[in-house]
């Protein structure tokens, strides 16, 4: 089973190395990891998606919690949450194929952020399956040149922030 963890850490150099080092050393199964600033200047929020049973999940949380720079971990799988990922997709596009691509983009409520004679860059945010689906269609019909994905970020729905959970 997959768990989405919100990990609040001190915004200090070396913290990400600490976390990624620990994950690889203990051989935890991590599906994605995404980090960014938060509402507090000295805090970074890392969203980690872990794959594994309850025991493994508990070990990940306990081992990460031991790091001095990890302030708080909350399991967003346990509460209602919004989960999103952002993808930028560069797809092959000629004058002839552009309109078909535009159609696909509209169906997915994605947007086109760059166009030139041979390619288009499409931006889509959504859950993982939606992004996977768009990539599939674009690749099958037009050919994808490259993709950049952020990894999942997540926020709980209620009024209580992760730091107070």
């Amino acid at each position: 089973m997959k768990h989405t963890l919100a990990v609040l850490v001190e915004n200090k150099p070396g913290v990400l190395t600490h976390i990624s080092g620990l994950i690889s050393r203990r051989a935890f199964n991590i599906e994605s990891i995404a980090a960014g600033y938060t509402e507090e200047a000295d805090t970074t929020r890392i969203t980690i998606v872990v794959e594994g049973d309850e025991i493994e999940q508990e070990q990940v949380v306990n081992q990460l919690s031991k790091l001095v720079d990890v302030i708080k971990i909350s399991d967003l799988t346990a509460v209602e949450s919004i989960q999103r990922e952002l993808a930028l997709i560069k797809v092959k596009a000629s004058a002839a194929t552009r309109s078909d691509i535009i159609n696909i983009v509209e169906i997915f409520r994605a947007s086109i952020v760059d166009v030139n004679r041979e390619t288009m860059v499409i931006e889509l945010s959504g859950d993982e399956t939606k992004i996977d689906a768009l990539c599939q269609v674009l690749d099958d019909d037009h050919g994808i040149i490259e993709i950049a994905r952020t990894g999942k970020i997540a926020l709980s729905r209620g009024p209580i922030p992760a730091k107070e959970q």
Binding site: E10, G14, H18, G21, S65
Partner: protein, 566 residues
């Protein structure tokens, strides 16, 4: 107070009640060494940084205080790595202060630059790189706090060279504010009712103690629990000494070289109460068969230890200084009931202990290592601080010394670091100048840090170094004998022409030798009577095995008993 970074370190050390540091100077710590000189701060100069860090570790294990080690950047710092990892695996509080190249030079592969923060990340509880002098007092305050509290461990503070020289307004922080570090002291006491309920249900309970009891100085509370409950007790290597060996409920050490009784009791018990243990593979053997008939209760300060190796039915997370007295409070009311209910089981396991004791083949022509350990135990009334290196001798010491006191066995249990013993013994002696400190070491491991004999002589640390000299890398040779068809690949030391007595003398240390059984007692007495450091080269047979032995990955009840009938 306007002072330099180097002076601030001295002030901080004083604030932390540090009265001695171990270390070795070099380019990036010159300013710090100048401040040590001017402050006349006590510094033990070892012969190698590895010696310094193991000495700081031995000091910490023996005294319970934080050990402090200083090294220069680059090779000085990397020479600490084995010692830091050794301390980390055994949860020993250390603060390692390393010099780093100046801030403008960091990241340019400068002379003697090594990313010691990166290198030590997986083997420290926490680490710092200080690039601004204003951050120095806070980093040191936090380093000591983190090293000593919760589950103890080593902390590295890497300090850029220019920080030592920079002046600033020094103030030592009064308290530590770390959002991400709140060691649990007191856990959830409602769990103790459940523990008690399990204790009352159990027909074949077993208490299993480890290094956590030694580290938390909870042996008194442990003994109370054992006396109140009447439950039999087994120990890990690291737990030895936290309960006196002659306690009537004690069954000895469990695991690969554990006693028959301890291993069988673990296999048979229906309740295993682990206290300050981490279920290491040297203890559990085949994990799926470990205590397979038992419910498991796990007491530990570190929540990450719970369910790491063995799944616990009940967890008591918190400091033993909280959990044990609180549990004793409850057990007291049902003491008679518990004792009554385990009487048959206790009798059974104690019979195992008596019927299949640890034994060894007596041999009137050779000095038997086990006999040496027993003799030393007798001559010191089991009261000395014993340090070991790693190998067969380490296991014989664990089996035959008969530890009576907590913190009286200093040994690298988790990492199994050869070369640990001699420097750790110096550190222990430095911390406990009035206690007898005795090192047992193999002829292999002795050579790994034998340079520190010179330090023993210079500082007149009167450690007694007993080399159990089998002219081979005994423990590895034993495995080759058992599992590799007796092909002794690179484990014979017979070609060595080193004369340990002369080596000792050359470094200013007395040297003695024992080759025949009849010389043993007299020579040991002579060594113990010498006021300074002594090396005793004790010649033991080459081919001896440590028994009992559970082969790696086998079940605990599959012991090869060796000396005793199988």
């Amino acid at each position: 107070m306007i002072i330099t970074g180097a002076e601030a370190i001295i002030e901080s050390l004083k604030n932390e009640n540090v009265d001695v540091v171990f270390g070795y100077p070099g380019g990036s710590v010159l300013t710090l060494y100048d401040a040590l000189y001017q402050a006349k701060f006590r510094h033990i100069l070892t012969k190698h940084e590895q010696g310094a860090v193991h000495a700081a570790d031995g000091y910490a294990r023996a005294t319970g205080k934080v050990g402090v080690v200083i090294a220069t950047s680059g090779p000085g710092a990397t020479n600490l790595v084995t010692g830091i990892a050794t301390a980390y695996m055994d949860s020993i509080p250390l603060v390692a202060i390393t010099g780093q190249v100046s801030v403008p030079l960091i990241g340019r592969d400068s002379f003697q630059e090594a990313d010691i923060r990166g290198i030590t990340t997986p083997i420290t509880k926490h680490n710092y790189l200080v690039k601004k002098v204003e951050d120095l007092p806070g980093a040191l305050k936090e380093a000591f706090y983190i090293a000593r509290t919760g589950r103890p461990g080593p902390v590295v503070v890497d300090i850029a060279k220019d920080v030592f020289a920079a002046s600033f307004d020094y103030q030592y922080p009064e308290e530590v504010k770390l959002r991400g570090y709140r060691p649990v002291f007191e856990g959830d006491s409602s769990i103790l009712d459940k523990v008690l309920a399990e204790m009352r249900l159990a027909q074949k309970p077993l208490i299993f103690v480890g290094g956590g009891v030694n580290l938390s100085d909870s042996s008194k509370e442990l003994k109370e629990l054992i006396d109140l409950s009447g439950f039999p007790v087994i120990s890990t290597l690291m737990g030895l000494g936290c309960l006196a060996n002659d306690h009537p409920q004690f069954l000895g050490m469990v695991g690969m070289h554990g006693t028959y009784a301890a291993n069988m009791a673990t296999t048979e018990c229906d309740l295993l109460i682990g206290i300050g243990v981490r279920f290491d593979d040297r203890v559990t053997g085949l994990l799926s068969e470990f205590a397979a008939k038992a419910k498991i209760i796990h007491f530990d300060i570190d929540p990450a230890e719970i369910n790491k190796n063995v799944i616990a039915n009940l967890r008591v997370v918190g400091d033993m200084r909280w959990s044990l007295p609180a549990l004793n409070q409850e057990v007291r009311n049902v003491s008679d009931e518990l004792k009554g209910q385990v009487r048959t089981w206790l009798e059974k396991v104690r019979n195992w202990y008596k019927e299949k004791p640890l034994t060894y083949v007596q041999n009137s022509d050779s000095v038997m290592p086990q006999a040496v350990v027993e003799k030393v135990s007798q001559l010191t009334q089991g009261d000395a601080v014993i340090v070991t290196d790693v190998g067969q001798h380490q296991m014989w010491v664990a089996q035959f010394y008969g530890f009576k006191n907590p913190r009286s066995l200093l040994t690298s249990g988790g990492l199994g670091t050869m070369g640990y013993g001699l420097p750790a013994a110096l550190g222990a002696q430095c911390g406990l100048p009035d206690r007898p400190v005795i090192l047992f070491v193999g002829d292999g491991g002795f050579m790994m840090n034998c340079q520190e004999l010179a330090a023993a002589a210079e500082f007149n640390f009167p450690v007694k170094v007993l080399i159990l000299n089998n002219q081979c890398l005994g423990m590895v040779a034993q495995w080759q004998r058992m599992f590799y068809g007796g092909r002794y690949s690179q484990t014979s030391l017979k070609g060595s022409a080193t004369d340990f007595v002369k080596l000792a003398e050359a470094m200013g240390v007395a040297g003695l030798r024992v080759s025949k059984p009849e010389e043993l007692e007299k020579t040991l007495q002579e060594a113990l009577a010498i006021p300074g450091p002594v090396v005793v080269d004790i010649r033991i047979p080459e081919v001896l095995d440590v028994f009992p032995m559970v082969p790696a990955g086998a079940c605990l009840d599959q012991m090869m008993l060796g000396g005793i009938e199988e």
